[in-house]
Symmetry: none
Subunit: 205 residues, 4 copies
Amino acid sequence: MTGKREQTKKDNRNAILEAAREVFVKLGYGATTVRDIIRATELASGTFYNYFKSKDEVFQAIQDENALRVRPRLRAERVRARNVEEFISGSFHTFFEYIATDRRTFAVIRRNADTMRVRMDTPEIIAGFDELRIDLLTAIEQGIFPPVDADYLMASLVGVAFEIGEHMLTREPIDTKAAANFATALFMGGFKALPHYVAATEAAA
Amino acid sequence: MTGKREQTKKDNRNAILEAAREVFVKLGYGATTVRDIIRATELASGTFYNYFKSKDEVFQAIQDENALRVRPRLRAERVRARNVEEFISGSFHTFFEYIATDRRTFAVIRRNADTMRVRMDTPEIIAGFDELRIDLLTAIEQGIFPPVDADYLMASLVGVAFEIGEHMLTREPIDTKAAANFATALFMGGFKALPHYVAATEAAA
Amino acid sequence: MTGKREQTKKDNRNAILEAAREVFVKLGYGATTVRDIIRATELASGTFYNYFKSKDEVFQAIQDENALRVRPRLRAERVRARNVEEFISGSFHTFFEYIATDRRTFAVIRRNADTMRVRMDTPEIIAGFDELRIDLLTAIEQGIFPPVDADYLMASLVGVAFEIGEHMLTREPIDTKAAANFATALFMGGFKALPHYVAATEAAA
Amino acid sequence: MTGKREQTKKDNRNAILEAAREVFVKLGYGATTVRDIIRATELASGTFYNYFKSKDEVFQAIQDENALRVRPRLRAERVRARNVEEFISGSFHTFFEYIATDRRTFAVIRRNADTMRVRMDTPEIIAGFDELRIDLLTAIEQGIFPPVDADYLMASLVGVAFEIGEHMLTREPIDTKAAANFATALFMGGFKALPHYVAATEAAA
DNA sequence: GATGAATGAGAATTCATTCAT
DNA sequence: TATGAATGAATTCTCATTCAT
């Protein structure tokens, strides 16, 4: 049973987060100032500091929220997969589905990918793909996947997901299935041709 | 016969550009200030403004230099290609070869990809990939390439090149050929599986 | 019931205005910097910008205040006038009376007459004399004044008022009546001798 | 016999002075910077300092030149005067004649009257009017002039000369005689009405 | 003597943050 | 808890002046 005060607090916090998202997209993390965020809000400057200590903290909060939204879905999709195709296809479908419904979040991620890469502390979305990497390695170990270079494959998946995702959003109407099918087909076809790989460290052993 | 003055000017300009590259990588375009660039230099603050009007102008200069370095090579490689495989393979080899020799430039591009995307005025590197896109469309028209979605293919190529490129640079020793082979194989295998595509506008007609 | 905060704001604003007046007199508008104004204050540099955007805006504010102080008095005096002598005499008495009580304001105007002339946007004091000009033309039309060149007469009145005003303030004790009597006598005597005038455009017609 | 070098030196000096006049009119003394003057020139920045130590020094030089142009004429005119009317009329005619032929100089003086007033070191033009003041006192002593307040009369003459002068230059065609006649008539008529005056110090004695 | 780049002090302005109300 | 003005450090940029060429 949340009182009025609790509600106001939530509202204010959300107002700040939303304003921050807006500004981070427009200016990028590096260039935005706390003032910019406050200005995009109806709150007083002092109020900001009742909720966050710095723009950094807001950014973290946004990332955490994002992660909470995307990662579980991707994870669930992969766990459900019975074979390579379901694994790949499911991941792409979920990812494109998600960014189509939450374009703002994707925009934040895209615009600030560099910042997220730099601060390794909370690379939540990336971490989501790290889960993918672990699942990939597991799949390779289990013989479900051919023994390809998992890092390069991961990188390829991420790169393709983000770049196609961006293009997909510029089209009208947005066709997440077509995008997922394209990406899935590329990888399903490509797998067979990939050079089999033995990690350097293992090779040295 | 360049006098001492000319030489000093060139040196200073280069010192600023190099310092800027360094700082743009460390802090990102948005967050770096002109002061940061100056501080990374042995020059006086006022000197900066003898060479550039703003950090923006330095950034443009860097991009222009970058473009001059990468694009012609990629273009030459594509022109030389006799078939799809040479086209793809040559592009990846050249690209990975380049970023291995000029890691600093690649780092600047990576770190500030968002900024470059935002400012469409001098998207030289991106423009390089646009050339690729045109070549792709031409190839599709000529029947060399299957009629796939050129934009999505382009996006995939770019995404894969950058993401694999980044991983490649973290390995020791750097093996550009392995990276290029991986990427090439992925796409050569993938092509065959890609859904054939008719652009929306054409389909409507 | 104004709270403490409101009072502080008023005080700060006044402190800045007063400091600006002081500096504008000492250095002139062109040469004074915002820093100069701040330094003449006990406030922090940033505080200035809570009240004014630039020295220009302070200058405008000062001019507006000045206008509010002088113009209504002069206007009232002229409206009250029953004949030429009262018109002239009343204006001079009021003007000299005023600058004797508000020497700071007069000093600002004197010192920055050129600036005020340049920026025609808020030439409030000058505008006050423009009212005089209109009243003069009206008086000429009505036959109260002889048909002399109203612009030159206006110019003469202004010139005499300011120049005598300045001298008057250097004397001890300040005798506003003597100054007004001198100026009034000069013009009352002079009128009769002035060449009658028909404006060029009318003459051409 | 001036050599080529001497000529260049003169040319440069004049170029700087002319540029300075231009800038002083546009920006006012206070606001103009040495850079502004140099920019209005085709010379290099360092060259400026071969001729003047500061903008102040240029300003002085301009004032000196101005004085050399106006003062002697005014003085000559007054010396020639046989009575009050010739005295007044001659001064105005000469003054208006002069500013009509050398509008640039008058513009400099007008625009920077405040600066000239402030720096009492070289108040050349004003000094010209001081000569007038001395002549006035002499004339009063000799009984040629009625014993009016010489300072106020001086002030009035100066104020009228400058204000009417400014208006005169805005008219087309410029009619210096009409202006001089107006001003002369005003004063000739006014004299008779002026209160006779005994200077405070003398009165106290 | 002319040149124009280098210099660093100084000016305009914005910023993050605090704190009295 | 919300407010928003005050603060002074930090930033951008310009200036006067010097000095090697």
